[in-house]
C-alpha cells in the first residue's frame, strides 16, 4: 500500500519537529591497517570523553563446560598487564578524575573508561594496554574466581536474577543465550591457560572495535590506536550465532521465593531484530509496555495492581528475547499474564493509532537526546551497534528512522514476532 499524501506530510512534519537546533559532528568509522575498527566522534567543548573497547566473542563463544569464562576474562583485564599491576592501572586513570571498568557480555568483552577530557590520553593508554597485554597471574586469578563465585551466590538474594535464571533455559534450551551458571562447580577447573587461550583468540584485530567520543583530537586518538593495535594478529571473525528455536508449545515455570512482590514475566525467543526493523521494534516495545502505555494503563492505571510494567527486550543480532514483566499481587498473576498475552495479540492484529505512534516517537527521541548528552551514552550506543555488526546511527538518522515507521509496520512486526514462537511464563512467588 502506498503512503498517502497526508501520511507523507505527517512524516515530514515529524522529521522537521525533531530536527535538532545544532547537528552533531560526524561519526567517523574506519578500519585501521591492523583490521581493527575505529569509531570516533568529536564533541568540541563538551569537556568529557568516553572510551568503549569491545573484543567480539563473549558468552556466545564460551564452551558449554566453561560457563563464566567471559566474565572472568573481563575482570582479569584490570588485574594488571606486562608493565602495570592492577593498582597502577586504576591509579593512572583515577588520579586524572576518570573511571575505568570492564564487563563481559553475550557478544563481547568491553573495557570502558570515561571522565574529564584531559584524562583521555592516560585512560586510552591504560585501556589499550589492558586489552593487548593482560598479565593473567594465577594468584590474581584465584582471587577473582573467589569473587565471581561470591557474586553468583549473592545473586540468589535478588528476585530479578532468580527470575531470569529460570526464564533463560526455559526459553532457549541449549542455545548459548540460555545458559546459566550452576551454583555448584562454577568455574571449577578454570585456569590461567584457558584464559590466555580465550584472550589470544578474541583480542585480535578483526574482532576489536574501539569507540572514542568526546572533547578530543581525532587525529591524535587515531595515531595512538593505530600504534597500540598494529601488532595484533588479524585473527578470525567472531563465530556466527544461530537463531534460537521457536517454542512449539507454551512453557511455564515457578520460582519459589519468599517475597512481598510476586513477579510474572511472559516472553518468547526471537531470531533477532534486523537493522531495518530496529526503529519499529523500539516503538512496538514502548507502545506495548512503555511508561503509561497499553499495559501500564491496563494493569496499573485501570486496575491498580502494579507499580511497574516493563518490556524485556534483549537483542543480539540473530538471537534475542522479547517479553513483558510486571509485579502484581499473588492472586493476580494469572490475570496479569492473560492481559499481557491479550495485548500482544491486539498489537499483532491492529495497527496502533497515530497518536500512540507519535507519543512513542517523541518519547524515544527524548530518551535518545538524554543519552546523547553524555559522551559515555553515545560511546555505548555506537559500540552496541558495532557489536551487532550494524553501523552507528546519528541522532538525526534515528529521528528520520522513527519518523518513517508506519503503524502498519509496527503491526506487521508484532505479528511476525508473536506468531513465530509460543511464550514462556515464569512467576516468582
Amino acid at each position: 500500500m502506498r503512503p498517502s499524501v497526508f501520511t507523507m506530510g505527517l512524516l515530514l512534519c515529524a522529521v522537521l519537529a525533531f530536527r535538532p537546533a545544532r547537528a552533531d559532528e560526524p561519526i567517523l568509522r574506519e578500519t585501521l591497517p591492523s583490521g581493527a575498527t575505529l569509531i570516533l566522534q568529536e564533541r568540541p567543548g563538551c569537556g568529557t570523553f568516553a572510551i568503549d573497547l569491545v573484543a567480539l566473542g563473549g558468552r556466545a563463544e564460551d564452551p558449554a563446560g566453561r560457563i563464566g569464562l567471559t566474565d572472568l576474562l573481563a575482570r582479569m583485564l584490570l588485574r594488571g598487564t606486562a608493565t602495570r599491576d592492577g593498582a597502577m592501572q586504576a591509579a593512572e586513570v583515577e588520579r586524572a578524575g576518570a573511571a575505568i571498568g570492564s564487563t563481559g557480555g553475550f557478544l563481547g568483552i568491553t573495557l570502558r573508561a570515561s571522565g574529564p577530557a584531559p584524562a583521555l590520553a592516560a585512560a586510552l593508554e591504560v585501556v589499550l594496554d589492558a586489552a593487548a597485554h593482560p598479565r593473567m597471574s594465577p594468584d590474581d586469578l584465584a582471587g577473582e574466581i573467589v569473587l565471581v563465585r561470591r557474586r553468583l551466590q549473592a545473586g540468589m538474594d535478588d528476585i530479578t536474577t532468580l527470575r531470569d535464571r529460570a526464564l533463560l533455559p526455559l526459553l532457549l534450551g541449549v542455545h548459548p543465550l540460555g545458559r546459566v551458571a550452576a551454583e555448584k562447580g562454577y568455574l571449577d577447573g578454570m585456569d590461567a591457560d584457558a584464559l590466555r587461550l580465550a584472550h589470544a583468540s578474541r583480542f585480535t584485530a578483526r574482532r576489536m572495535i574501539l569507540v572514542v567520543v568526546g572533547d578530543l583530537d581525532a587525529a591524535a586518538v587515531r595515531r595512538t590506536a593505530e600504534a597500540a593495535l598494529a601488532a595484533l594478529p588479524a585473527g578470525s571473525d567472531p563465530m556466527p550465532i544461530d537463531p534460537p528455536r521457536p517454542l512449539a508449545a507454551p512453557r511455564r515455570a515457578r520460582v519459589k521465593k519468599r517475597t512481598t512482590q510476586p513477579e510474572v514475566v511472559v516472553a518468547m525467543p526471537t531470531a533477532g531484530v534486523p537493522p531495518a526493523d530496529q526503529p519499529a521494534m523500539d516503538l512496538l516495545a514502548h507502545i506495548l509496555a512503555g511508561t503509561e502505555e497499553r499495559l501500564g494503563l491496563e494493569i496499573r492505571q485501570k486496575r491498580g495492581w502494579a507499580y511497574w510494567v516493563a518490556p524485556v527486550d534483549w537483542r543480539y543480532g540473530t538471537a534475542g528475547v522479547f517479553g513483558v514483566a510486571t509485579a502484581v499481587p499473588r492472586g493476580r498473576l494469572e490475570e496479569a499474564r492473560g492481559i499481557i498475552l491479550e495485548q500482544m495479540r491486539a498489537l499483532a492484529g491492529q495497527p496502533p493509532s497515530e497518536e500512540e505512534m507519535e507519543r512513542a516517537r517523541r518519547y524515544r527521541l527524548a530518551t535518545l537526546a538524554r543519552t546523547w548528552q553524555q559522551s559515555s551514552g553515545r560511546a555505548d550506543a555506537f559500540a552496541a551497534a558495532a557489536a551487532r555488526r550494524q553501523p552507528p546511527r546519528s541522532y538525526e538518522e534515528w529521528a528520520a528512522a522513527y519518523a518513517a515507521v508506519t503503524p502498519a509496520q509496527v503491526r506487521d512486526l508484532a505479528a511476525r514476532l508473536f506468531t513465530w514462537s509460543e511464550t514462556a511464563t515464569v512467576t516468582v512467588r
Binding site: G47, T48, L78, M88, A96, A154, Q301, Q374
Partner: protein, 467 residues
C-alpha cells in the same frame, strides 16, 4: 514516582592502589555553565533557576516543594508520597479519570517522573526542546491544580501498596528501616517515606488536600529549568505561570535535629544468603559545616578502584567486590557508613578490615597524594553528572533546597581547600576515641538466619509484610 529514602546501595566496581602518585593538578572542568545562570525571585515568593544548555535537544524542568515525610503526622506516614502519585492520575475505565495536564506531558514526549523524600517532593519532565512551552505549562498545571477525587485516592493507594511491597522484598532494606526506627524513635525520620500499609489505609482525601494547601504554595516551592531553551523566554514563561499564582504560604522553616538513641551494634538474623556488614557514624547532615569533608572521607574509603576498601577487600584479600554505601542524608542528620556483602564464612575477616579502615581514618592523616586522587574522583564524578540536563538540575536543585551557593565553582573551590588535617579532625570528631557525635562508631550486621532462627525470621518477614 519514587519514594526515596535510606537505601543501601552497592557501589560499582572499584579498585585500589597503594601506589604513591605525585599529587596531580586539579582536574580541569568542562566549560562552566555557571556564568549563564538566571535566578528569578517572583513576587509571590517563588524562586526559579534557569540554566541554558544550547544544543542539548531537551529541557529538564523541575518543580520542587519543600515538604516531605518529615512533615507528616506519624499516623499518616506515606501521605506526601501518595499525594505525589495522585497529581499524576490518569487512566481509563469506570473509576479512572483523565488528567489533561499529564496527558499533555505524555503527548509532548516528555519523560515525566517525581520523587518524594524526607524533606522534599519534586516533579519533573525532560522535554523535547521544541515542546518546552506546552510541556512546562502542563507540568505547572499538574502540580498546582490538583483535582483528584476520593475514588482516585482509593485506586492509587493500591498502586502505592504495590510500590511499598517492592521495598519489602529486600530483607536488608527492612533492616535499614528497623535501625532508623530504633535510632530516631517517635520521629518521622524513623518511618519509611512510602509509609506503612496501616498508615496508608488511614489517609483520607481531606488529609491530602489539607497537606496540599499547606505546603504547595509559591513561597514554599522552587523551579529549576536546564536545557536547550532561551533563558529570557523561559523566564517569561515562569513568571506568567508559577510566578503569577496568588501569593500564599511561607517558605518551610529549617528542620530541627531529631532526638537520637544510638547503640554501638545492631545485629539482625534474617533470610539472606550473604552477610551484610556496615560500619559508620551519625553526622550533622547536609547543612553541617563538615558535610563536604565527610563526602571526601566516604570517597577515600569506598568510591573507586583506588579506594581503601577496594584495595584491601577486593584486590588484596579477595573477600568481596560488593562494597555497600548507606545513603541516608537529610539537612540536619545523616550517616557516613561503608559496608560489604560477604560470604558468611568470611565475615570475621571482612568485619575486621572494615572497622580497621574506618578507625585508620580517625587515627592518621591521609597522605597528600591519596587525598588528591580522591578529590579528583569527586571532581570527575561531578563532571560526568553535569553532562546531562538532569544531572545539572539535580545539582542546582539540591543546593537551592539547602540554601547553598548554586555554582559548581564554589563547590569545587571548597573541595580543593580541604587538607589532610581537616579530614583527620572530622573523622576523630565523629568516630574517633572520645567522639563528639552521639554513638561514635556504629555497626550494623545482617546475617543469615540458621536453624530455628530461619522460622523466626520467616515469621518476622511475614509480620513486616503486613505492616
Amino acid at each position: 514516582m519514587v519514594a526515596a529514602a535510606m537505601v543501601w546501595a552497592r557501589v560499582g566496581v572499584m579498585a585500589a592502589a597503594a601506589v604513591s602518585v605525585a599529587a596531580a593538578a586539579a582536574v580541569p572542568s568542562p566549560p562552566s555553565p555557571d556564568a549563564s545562570l538566571t535566578v528569578i525571585a517572583c513576587d509571590n515568593g517563588l524562586t526559579a533557576v534557569i540554566d541554558p544548555r544550547p544544543g542539548s535537544r531537551t529541557v529538564f524542568a523541575e518543580i520542587a516543594v519543600r515538604a516531605g515525610s518529615r512533615d507528616e503526622p506519624l499516623e499518616l506516614a506515606g501521605m506526601s508520597h501518595l499525594l505525589e502519585h495522585l497529581l499524576f492520575q490518569e487512566g481509563h475505565g469506570a473509576i479512572a479519570r483523565p488528567n489533561p495536564a499529564f496527558s499533555a506531558l505524555r503527548q509532548a514526549g516528555a519523560l515525566v517522573n517525581a520523587s518524594t523524600d524526607f524533606e522534599q517532593t519534586e516533579y519533573h519532565a525532560d522535554l523535547p526542546a521544541e515542546r518546552f512551552a506546552e510541556g512546562w505549562d502542563a507540568l505547572v498545571s499538574m502540580v498546582t491544580r490538583a483535582g483528584f477525587t476520593t475514588a482516585d485516592v482509593d485506586r492509587e493507594r493500591r498502586v502505592v501498596l504495590q510500590e511499598a511491597a517492592l521495598g519489602k522484598t529486600d530483607p536488608v532494606s527492612i533492616v535499614a528501616w528497623s535501625v532508623l526506627g530504633r535510632m530516631f524513635p517517635g520521629d518521622p525520620i524513623a518511618q519509611p517515606v512510602i509509609g506503612f500499609r496501616r498508615s496508608l489505609r488511614r489517609i483520607r482525601h481531606a488529609d491530602l488536600m489539607s497537606y496540599y494547601r499547606r505546603f504547595y504554595t509559591p513561597a514554599n516551592m522552587f523551579a529549576v529549568i536546564v536545557g536547550d531553551v532561551d533563558p529570557q523566554a523561559a523566564a517569561a514563561r515562569v513568571r506568567s505561570t508559577l510566578g503569577a499564582l496568588p501569593a500564599g504560604g511561607t517558605a518551610h522553616a529549617p528542620y530541627g535535629k531529631p532526638a537520637v538513641d544510638v547503640r554501638p551494634l545492631y545485629r539482625f538474623r534474617t533470610l539472606v544468603k550473604q552477610s551484610y556488614l556496615l560500619a559508620g557514624a551519625l553526622t550533622g547532615g547536609e547543612t553541617s559545616p563538615d558535610a563536604l569533608e565527610l563526602s571526601l572521607l566516604s570517597t577515600l574509603l569506598g568510591e573507586g578502584r583506588t579506594s581503601r576498601l577496594h584495595e584491601r577487600l577486593v584486590r588484596r584479600e579477595a573477600l568481596t567486590d560488593d562494597i555497600l554505601e548507606m545513603a541516608f542524608q537529610v539537612s540536619t542528620v545523616g550517616a557516613l557508613a561503608a559496608g560489604v556483602a560477604v560470604d558468611p564464612d568470611r565475615q570475621t575477616a571482612a568485619r575486621e578490615a572494615l572497622l580497621d579502615e574506618m578507625r585508620r581514618l580517625a587515627r592518621e592523616p591521609v597522605p597528600v597524594d591519596e587525598l588528591a586522587s580522591a578529590r579528583h574522583r569527586m571532581e570527575g564524578a561531578l563532571a560526568r553528572e553535569m553532562e546531562t540536563n538532569e544531572g545539572i538540575a539535580g545539582f542546582r536543585a539540591r543546593r537551592l533546597l539547602l540554601g547553598q551557593p548554586l555554582e559548581r565553582e564554589v563547590y569545587l573551590a571548597r573541595l580543593a581547600s580541604i587538607t589532610p588535617d581537616d579530614l583527620l579532625a572530622v573523622a576523630r570528631r565523629h568516630w574517633g576515641d572520645g567522639a563528639e557525635r552521639p554513638g561514635g562508631l556504629i555497626e550494623i550486621q545482617v546475617l543469615p538466619a540458621r536453624g530455628f532462627g530461619k522460622v523466626l525470621a520467616a515469621l518476622r518477614f511475614l509480620f513486616f509484610r503486613r505492616l
